[in-house]
């Protein structure tokens, strides 16, 4: 594995319990800057749980206990003096089901930046909204109807709106939890092309059920099984020459 990449998120000995159930076991993995890292594995292997640890979304569930460190910019985000709300401003998230707010397209994108005080209402805000929608590849389709509700768009457009909303807050890292599972193949392709563009500015970690998607877009792939990290390497290595038999069984469909 090449080491000329800089590490954006350094995860060390991460353990997670849902009540009594030990869901993540000693996960240690360096996630690189301006790369797309895919997390693959069978259902229930912990990949979504792991993803949600990276922006402390698991804190919303009361029965969760976490041990270990997730270091971003030399600071462990689980330290006591770190406010989880500020973590989520720097680590954005896109979900499996497109979930735009029931507001206008403009408001969807502008709400969070205004609340964070990143822009003031007016010209600055308009520019931010336009830039975010351009970067998300949605501007041309919605520039004439910014006041229509976000829910009036098609599934693929809604997901791009959610991406625009996420990047409007100017995060450094974007987490994507199966962003295209609910979409048709054409919308999926658009989003994958978008991910390849976005990685120039952001670091992307994505969970996917679809191995072929990981093969297509990811620079690095991590294979999870039963809460453990089995193998982590460049995507090309994982899909042509995996080192671990379990990985190979999963990739070739010999699992179960």
């Amino acid at each position: 594995m090449s080491n000329k990449n800089s590490i954006k998120i350094d995860v060390n000995e991460l353990n997670l319990w849902y009540g009594e159930h030990h869901a993540l076991h000693n996960i240690t993995v360096p996630l690189y800057e301006n790369k797309i890292t895919a997390l693959i594995g069978p259902s229930g292997c912990g990949k979504s749980t792991f993803l949600r640890c990276l922006n402390r979304m698991n804190d919303l569930i009361s029965s969760v206990k976490i041990d270990g460190s997730v270091v971003i910019d030399k600071k462990n985000i689980y330290d006591k003096d770190v406010d989880e709300v500020s973590v989520r401003k720097r680590v954005g998230m896109v979900f499996q089901q497109p979930n735009p707010f029931p507001k206008s397209i403009y408001d969807n994108v502008s709400y969070a930046p205004l609340k964070h005080g990143q822009v003031k209402k007016g010209k600055d805000c308009n520019e931010l909204v336009e830039r975010s929608l351009v970067d998300a590849g949605l501007w041309d389709e919605v520039k004439d109807k910014l006041n229509e509700p976000g829910t009036s768009l098609s599934g693929g457009q809604q997901q791009r709106l959610c991406i625009a909303r996420t990047i409007a807050v100017k995060p450094e890292i974007i987490l994507m939890d199966e962003p295209t599972s609910a979409l048709d193949p054409i919308s999926t392709e658009k989003i994958e092309a978008l991910m390849l563009e976005l990685k120039k500015k952001y670091s992307i970690i994505t969970v996917t059920h679809n191995m072929q998607q990981a093969a297509r877009v990811a620079d690095y792939t991590a294979f999870f099984h039963l809460g453990k990290l089995i193998e982590y390497d460049e995507t090309e290595v994982i899909f042509v020459n995996p080192s671990n038999k379990k990985t190979e069984d999963y990739i070739t469909g010999r699992f179960g």
């Binding site: 009361s62 029931p102 709400y111 959610c162």
Partner: protein
């Protein structure tokens, strides 16, 4: 209906002998459910028919045209203003009004004018073909007057403009309507904010532990408590402890607020729960605080449901009688209240009172009152449905 020709086994690969009895039992079930529906509709139709047929006559009132003399003497002693033979067919209450009539129109002084006077309740009932207590003399007089066109049934505005009265033909629903309105304003003013805020706290902020679960069970139980107990509670707390004026819309409203609170809390919680969690997740994912997520994203979506629940709670409160009787809103209230601390009555209580009066005319007034009450309730429910449809956000 599709004819089923599964009779032949030959050249019919879909022949299935068990189907016949399965279809039959299906048809039987359909008949059962249809019969139940017909029963329910029949009861409803019967009820409506009864009420409407009893109440519609009340919207017309008998008036007689009699010559009225206006002078100093008759103003002081109004019984002298009309001819003796009319005394029993003209309403006493109308006669009482004579001085006010002169005050409004001084040109009447010293004249004898034919006026349409409100007829006595027995005349009214006689004309409508119901039980009456008119003497033969009076009956003959009325028949004669009718032949001369001096008797008419006009639209009953008194029903809506007057308060309660011991004189049947002069009794109206006005003060009860105003009393109901005041009471309900108080109810909503207290129950709505407290109920919605409680629901928001329980749903969004409270942890899910034994304590909150107990609270939830208790709130659900409160919604099922017999309403008369709330009357006793209101009596003990608001009237005895706080010393608020008895029989006022203030106390009535507060008591009904206690009663409506569980309903509002339960329906608001359901509305909040119905908001998909993905909205909250999206909000938190953007780095928003709990209040920002709840106030700006969850509440607007839950609002139609909350509104519907509240309006239904309000409609229910409007029809409550038992608790208000306990706190005294059953008294005889001729005038509408002008503030929330004056003694008042509400529509259902007024109808309860009228139902107990001996005069025959009160039967049709009660039925008419029920019709008015039902109309208000149906309108409120229709408003709830309309508002829900209007504010519903399409997904």
């Amino acid at each position: 209906m599709i004819k089923r020709n599964n009779k032949s086994k030959e050249n019919n690969p879909f022949y299935d002998p068990t189907l016949k009895s399965r279809h039959r039992s299906s048809k039987r079930f359909k008949k059962f459910t249809l019969t139940s529906l017909i029963f329910s509709i029949a009861f409803l139709v019967f009820f409506l028919y009864d009420i409407i047929s009893k109440g519609t006559p009340a919207f017309e009132q008998a008036y007689v045209s009699v010559p009225v003399t206006y002078n100093e003497k008759t103003i002081k002693n109004t019984r002298k203003a009309i001819d003796r033979k009319y005394l029993r067919v003209v309403s006493r209450a109308w006669l009482r009004e004579i001085p006010r009539q002169v005050k409004e129109d001084p040109s009447l002084m010293g004249k004898t004018v034919n006026k349409w006077a409100l007829a006595d309740d027995q005349v009214d009932q006689y004309l409508k073909g119901h039980y009456y207590k008119l003497k033969r003399k009076d009956r003959a007089l009325i028949d004669d007057m009718k032949a001369h066109g001096a008797v008419e049934l006009k639209f009953n505005t008194i029903f809506f403009t007057n308060g309660d009265s011991k004189i049947p033909e002069f009794a109206g629903l006005n003060s009860a309507i105003i009393g109901s309105i005041f009471t309900l304003i108080i109810t909503m003013l207290f129950a709505f904010p407290i109920g919605v805020m409680t629901a928001i706290y329980l749903e969004e902020f409270a942890d899910d532990n034994k304590f909150t679960q107990t609270i939830e069970v208790n709130i659900n139980n409160l919604a099922a408590i017999p309403s008369i107990l709330f009357g006793l509670l209101g009596l003990a707390i608001f009237i005895n402890l706080f010393g608020l004026p008895r029989s006022s819309p203030l106390v009535g409203g507060l008591t009904l607020a206690l009663m409506t609170l569980p309903i509002i809390i339960v329906s608001s919680r359901a509305a909040l729960r119905a908001v998909p969690d993905s909205i909250r997740q999206a909000g938190y994912g953007l780095g928003l605080t709990k209040i920002e997520v709840t106030r700006d994203h969850v509440l607007p979506l839950a609002f139609p449901g909350i509104l519907t629940g509240s309006i239904i709670g309000l409609a229910q409160a409007m029809g409550e009688t038992a608790p208000l009787i306990i706190i005294g809103m059953i008294a005889f209230i001729p005038d509408a209240p002008s503030t929330v601390t004056q003694a008042a009555t509400v529509m259902p209580a007024q109808l309860f009172t009228w139902a107990g009066m001996p005069e025959r005319m009160y039967i049709e007034k009660t039925a008419a009152g029920i019709m008015v009450l039902l109309t208000v309730l149906i309108s409120l429910n229709a408003l709830a449905i309309y508002l829900r449809k209007k504010f519903e956000v399409k997904w």
